[in-house]
């Protein structure tokens, strides 16, 4: 297993491509140069930082530090989920629902794969657990974010239909079921699309990375398949939990639709 090592100097020439983008923005007055500069600097700092953090974690192999890193990743994921919502829940649930469901789904699936397939020593070894968690989190987050967004928007839009069903003696589950189905379908769509397109349209980044690092393509493919199965499972679990949890929060035990638990639009 050999790979061509890069020095920081090797990155200067490729970085000029971003400078070219910036020049393009200036010439065509796209007003993107500021955003582009900030995004580029953020990316460099974040990645270099993460490189050092991972180096430290891999050397320490401490359950405590690994858990802390995992927790921080989940918190960032739940912040992303909230940022993508057009309508947000009131109170603690705003972050709580997304964070709880990502943690549940991504955590379960990661531990499942560590325990049944990869068997690292110790089982929580950060070299395996953190990259796996990261891959699963990123996708679970998308599913949960989409599912919740479609759920809250759907309940607001379909309020008359939901309440008509309730007024005729339907339970809250019967009444929200059509909206619930839409929300689950939206949550599942991205992973289904990416599974269908993978290999033909896109070569996944992780597989490309492994191949560049000198791994036989067919071995890299096996790893990629493992990851995709885990992602599909995590997305399904997380989206289901979040959408059903959201539907419960937006109804009450007297089977009423409680849109008053959605924060007013435009509120921070």
């Amino acid at each position: 297993m050999t790979y061509i090592q890069l020095t920081y100097g090797d990155l200067i020439l490729p970085a000029l491509l971003v400078v070219m983008d910036g020049a393009l923005s200036l010439v065509l007055r796209l007003k993107l140069e500021r955003q582009l500069a900030i995004a580029t600097v953020r990316m460099v700092l974040q990645l270099v930082l993460v490189g050092y953090v991972l180096t430290f974690l891999f050397a320490a192999v401490s359950p405590l530090w690994t858990a802390l890193a995992a927790l921080i990743m989940v918190l960032f994921a739940s912040r992303e989920i909230v940022a993508r919502q057009k309508r947000r829940l009131l109170g603690l649930w705003k972050y709580g629902l997304g964070a709880g469901c990502t943690l549940l789904a991504a955590g379960t699936v990661t531990i499942f794969s560590l325990a049944t397939e990869l068997h690292p020593q110790p089982w929580y070894h950060p070299r395996y657990s953190l990259p796996l968690l990261g891959m699963i989190l990123g996708n679970t987050m998308t599913g949960i974010g989409l599912g919740l967004d479609v759920l809250t928007n759907g309940l607001v839009r379909e309020r008359a239909a939901v309440e008509a069903c309730l007024a005729l003696g339907g339970t809250r589950y019967q009444a929200v079921l059509p909206v619930l189905r839409d929300a689950l379908r939206s949550g599942f769509m991205p992973i289904i699309n990416s599974m269908a397109a993978i290999g033909l349209v896109s070569l996944p980044g992780m597989m490309t990375g492994q191949i560049l690092a000198g791994i036989e393509p067919i071995d890299a493919v096996k790893y990629q398949l493992l990851i995709m199965f885990l992602i599909a499972g995590g997305t399904g679990l997380g989206t289901l939990a979040a959408v059903i949890g959201g539907a419960r929060l937006l109804t009450d035990n007297r089977h009423r639709l409680r849109l008053d638990r959605i924060a007013p639009e435009g509120a921070a």
Binding site: A160, V162, E163, L168, G169, G170, R254
Partner: protein, 198 residues
């Protein structure tokens, strides 16, 4: 008998009885809270106060059971499926009412989008009447209908009242209020109701 005492929802405050086989008309300016009152009795919004049917507190039964007995019908009823008949547990049983209200008998497989506002309002009424509820809370049930159709609705409800159904009927039409109601409640802007005996 429906007993409402100390019902509170936002600015609304109401206490009254509704006997079996009695129809009370509910009037008041737009936006005064007539819909809020009807929805609160059906327990569709959080509210305070005691509401009983034949002495049984609504909280002693699951909300869906309560709403099958005390049924609220919105002025613009909602539709959750694509076709008309999917909204009925037994479409064939509903056909006599459909015919009576002057709707085409073939409208079962129609998409809901195809219906006019008036057709939706009548089909919403049929859907609610199929429950054979003890109490009907009708929110302007003829607002989108011509006078002939409205008369059919009035006579249909009158039959139900003769059979012991209680009705609280919200309407903007003074003539209709005195036609259908044996009593008339007027909701004031402060959210309380006062009774006008015709």
């Amino acid at each position: 008998m429906l007993t409402v005492s100390g019902l509170k929802r936002l600015h609304i405050f109401a206490s009254f009885d509704l006997q079996d086989g009695e129809c009370v008309a509910l009037q008041g300016p737009s936006g005064v809270g007539k819909t809020l009152l009807l929805r609160s009795i059906a327990d569709l919004d959080p509210n305070d106060g005691t509401v009983k049917l034949d002495g049984a507190l609504r909280e002693t039964m699951p909300a869906p059971v309560w709403r099958k007995r005390v049924t609220y019908l919105a002025a613009e009823p909602g539709w959750w499926s694509d076709t008309v008949q999917e909204h009925f547990s037994g479409w064939d049983d509903a056909l006599p009412l459909v015919a009576r209200l002057g709707l085409p008998l073939t409208c079962g497989p129609w998409p809901v989008q195809r219906l006019s506002t008036g057709e939706r309002q009548r089909l919403g009424l049929v859907r609610a009447l199929m429950l054979q509820s003890r109490v009907l809370l009708l929110d302007e049930p003829t607002s989108a209908l011509d006078s002939a159709s409205a008369a059919v609705v009035e006579s249909l409800i009158a039959e139900r009242i003769l059979n012991g159904t209680s009705v609280l009927w919200s309407t903007h039409d003074n003539a209709q209020a005195s036609r259908v109601g044996s009593r008339v409640f007027v909701m004031r802007t402060d959210g309380e109701i006062e009774e006008n005996r015709p």
